[in-house]
Amino acid sequence: MSWHSISLRPVPFSPGSYVLRIGRWSLRFDARLIGHTLLLLAMALTVGILSLKSGARPFTFAEITEAIFIDAPRRLHLPIIEWRMPRVVLALLAGSSLGMAGAIFQSVSRNSLASPDILGFSTGAATGALFVILLGTGGYYERAGAALLGGGMTAAVTYMLAWKGGIQGVRLVLVGIGISSMLTSLNAWLILKTDLRLAIQAAVWQVGSLNTVNWRQVQHLGSALSFIVPCTFLLGRAMRQLEIGEDLARSQGLRSEYVRASLLASGIALTAATTAIVGPIAFVALSAPQLALRFLRLPGLRLAPSAAMGALLLVSGDWFAQHLFAPRLIPVGIVTICIGGAYLVWLLAGEKRRKQS
């Protein structure tokens, strides 16, 4: 291999797409996609900084910079770094994780309604985590493990029930909604059956909330994601190839069963890792990939912009959750349900219009 031949060329007819060739190696990247993703992330970070600034005691930019970069006095360090920042960082992490999970499920099922929250995987993960919470024992990893188990089992049951010589989008969604409702009532029952203190804690967690957050939780989610996310990105190329259809992708050498199983596994892992900490936050996974798709006019669902859009959605949602009825805090899950509900109506109305035309 000759290391001398290094070239960077645009890919023909693909604006923004470049190929870097080193010898016989070649890496292709989409500068436009990267740019858009960075833009979304920058917007998310901006909202995050606004979140740090505002609150019962507003801070100036100077104070925030001081708290972050300089050894600030305790009166700045405690509220900004210890109280507000973990919440913002967790919102960014959880949002990206959910956005990514949504992109995976929607891409694999070729259905814009399929996402862990609609299909009941989040609720299933919540059921698993609830068991651990209500036993009053176990830390994050027990909770995450149980959530993984719950989400995985829900996925298996949903697929089994929806299977009819293959998976059809609508059938999958309907079965998912059914299972999700059943699990929701199971979760409610579980909460009713335990003592008040644990029940209150569980009930708040169950709507999806960032109101009680500390750095430990950020650390837990961060370390889980630092493993799952790179694995998921490795599957990105195969995921894009699946877009052209099962038969074609297989005839081009893609091991579709294996790819699909791996993708679903990482989707469930992302959902479980997130749900175990912030609870089943609804609609971020559903709407983030589609919003990214529509606003960036992509040819298909992409992991990175979906993740960035998820981060933006959740961090904005959390800002509203904190300030809409301030000083009363509402769980961010309530906000995302409201945003998501509106989005869902818009999506369904769009589908209907398209069918009629």
């Binding site: 890919v11 023909p12 007819f13 693909s14 190929v19 060739r21 016989r24 190696w25 070649s26 890496l27 292709r28 070729r110 814009s112 010589g165 490795l234 190329r237 190839q241 877009e243 052209i244 259809g245 038969d247 074609l248 992708a249 297989r250 005839s251 081009q252 050498g253 893609l254 091991r255 798709l293 006019r297 992509l298 040819p299 298909g300 398209r354």
Partner: protein, 313 residues
Amino acid sequence: MAFSNSTTDTFVTSRLLAEDITLAYDGRVVASNLSVAIPDRSFSAIIGPNASGKSTLLRALSRLLRPESGSVYLDGKRIWELRARDVAKILGLLPQSAIAPDAITVFDLVSRGRYPHQGLFRQWSEDDEAAVFSALDATKTTGLAGRCMDELSGGQRQRVWLAMVLAQETSLLLLDEPTTYLDIAYQIELLELLAELNAGGRTVVAVLHDLNHACRFASHVIAMKGGAIVAEGKPAEIITEELVEDVFGLPSIIIPDPVAGTPMIVPKQKKVPATGEVACQAQPSRASRPDLTAASRLNGLSSSRIPRKPHQG
């Protein structure tokens, strides 16, 4: 692996063949104990009425459907023992129900055909680029390269799909009803393109609905009925009035095609049923398509054209 062809005395070799395969969907047997060899460098057409197992056979030949028993061989090896990626470098398939992702450009879609040649550190080589351009060129779609798939006509779209499979650079090309949903001019254009590719050295296998097209363009015809192969060979040798009657249940007369000299099937007037509905005049809806009568199926000109599946999204 060599196979002697019963209809001709010459010795014909086959890189792709099926030996005693039984095919089933969800336990329902569609075809049993089927053996077929695709002559190298032939333009083979698989014909037969609906539900005769044509597409199923094509799926088995292309490693999409695993036979319940028996084996498909590619270059003398059992196709299921080869890696999917290695098969994809030899054999390309265009399924019938290809749906393009929303907003994908022609160039992007054709590039997807390079998948078996790519890898994590080989994402877009110079070979990839050259193959895509030559596929666009062969299908005369270079001018469309920057356009979005959903802006194209049905005929253009089908040529782009074909370009995608060509970019795969396989010596065998399998197509499932490539002309369905195209109007007559596009059908002929596409078949001529396939004939051209075949003349260039590729082995082409296509499931075709139109018998007259099969007779005119194919060098080898495989006629199927009820999951079994009832005849195979050169169209001029096997397409007879008896065969058409037997396979399609349609009385016809066969005359030489005034243009190509190949057999041309002219359906005889069927007895008008009591309801007064003549097959050729019926305007079948999509849902009733499997009930298309033999007469309209045979006559490419009069069978109603059904628009291509609407674009997803």
